[in-house]
Symmetry: C2
Subunit: 151 residues, 2 copies
DNA sequence: CTTATTGCAAACGTTTTGCACGTTT
DNA sequence: AAACGTGCAAAACGTTTGCAATAAG
């Protein structure tokens, strides 16, 4: 999904958020946010950690900080995650509109889609069950067009 | 979801499956299948292990066998699983028609639903993306009616 | 100078694996 | 007898935590 908000805007909002929670603005937190913003896609905490190590070798960073920051960013709705069972989670930049995922089991690629009808129907279901929805996920697993083409 | 196939039928199919794969019919494998069939609901491997230990104290059983058998049963589409991120998976008897889940984050209860419109729409999406669907999951998370009532 | 944050390593919970022993065929 | 399955304990995996050292406000 393409980002429509500029990074400067994001960063300003992030700084404000930190201030409002009496949290501190650190190099590590900024870089984690920046890496996710810059590299559009879905990444595991390990991948984000590796990307930063590679792009900013001088910065000291531990994997624990990546996890802690991702939790922080997800709570603030700045990133969102998609779960892969035992194999962990992938995070993506999340100040875009809601969408669901097509996950290719061959190459691991994740495509995104949004379907209004499905969203509406989910609302209907929660009404029927008198259920208060806080979140929902939908994943379609299979083989992507590229992998199908490859045979 | 209520089972419409008798246990005897299931068991016969399971035995055939094992034979066809040159696998052996063991007490452990039978009990794991039986426990999931008997106790309608969604269980973690640990819960299944505990249930068997409780119901059949004389049978020797290790947790590894539970995991191994659940994988086997899931590959054979006899059970299905629903993932809870780091907190593991829950398994349910799966020779019923497909359904999705409403997961209560307060009490952990899982309700099931089936919606034809959503299913159809998913097909449409895969067509649009030229994607070959092998499986799909949809989970709606939130608070169930019982927990809402409790305040 | 106070408070939050960090990296590190150890701990965690779930799942998988290697292996010698048992069971099924 | 051959082949597969088992329990056990150890390892693996992603993630979280305690803590002393460090950086931000």
């Amino acid at each position: 999904m393409t980002n429509t908000i500029s990074y400067d805007e994001i960063l300003e909002n992030f700084k404000k958020l930190l201030k409002s929670k009496n949290l501190k603005y650190t190099t590590q937190r900024e870089l984690i946010l920046k890496i996710i913003y810059d590299n559009n896609g879905h990444f595991t905490p390990e991948e984000i950690y590796a990307l930063i190590k590679e792009s900013y070798p001088k910065v000291k960073l531990g994997i624990a900080t990546v996890y802690r920051t991702l939790t922080l960013l997800e709570d603030a709705n700045i990133v969102t995650s998609i779960s892969f069972g035992t194999q962990g989670k992938k995070y993506e930049f999340g100040i875009t509109h809601h969408h669901d995922h097509l996950v290719c089991l061959k190459c691991g690629k994740i495509e995104e889609f949004y379907d209004d009808l499905i969203e509406k129907q989910q609302e209907e279901i929660t009404k029927k069950f008198n259920f208060k929805m806080s979140d929902h996920v939908m994943k379609i697993m299979g083989t992507c067009s590229a992998c199908l083409a490859k045979g």
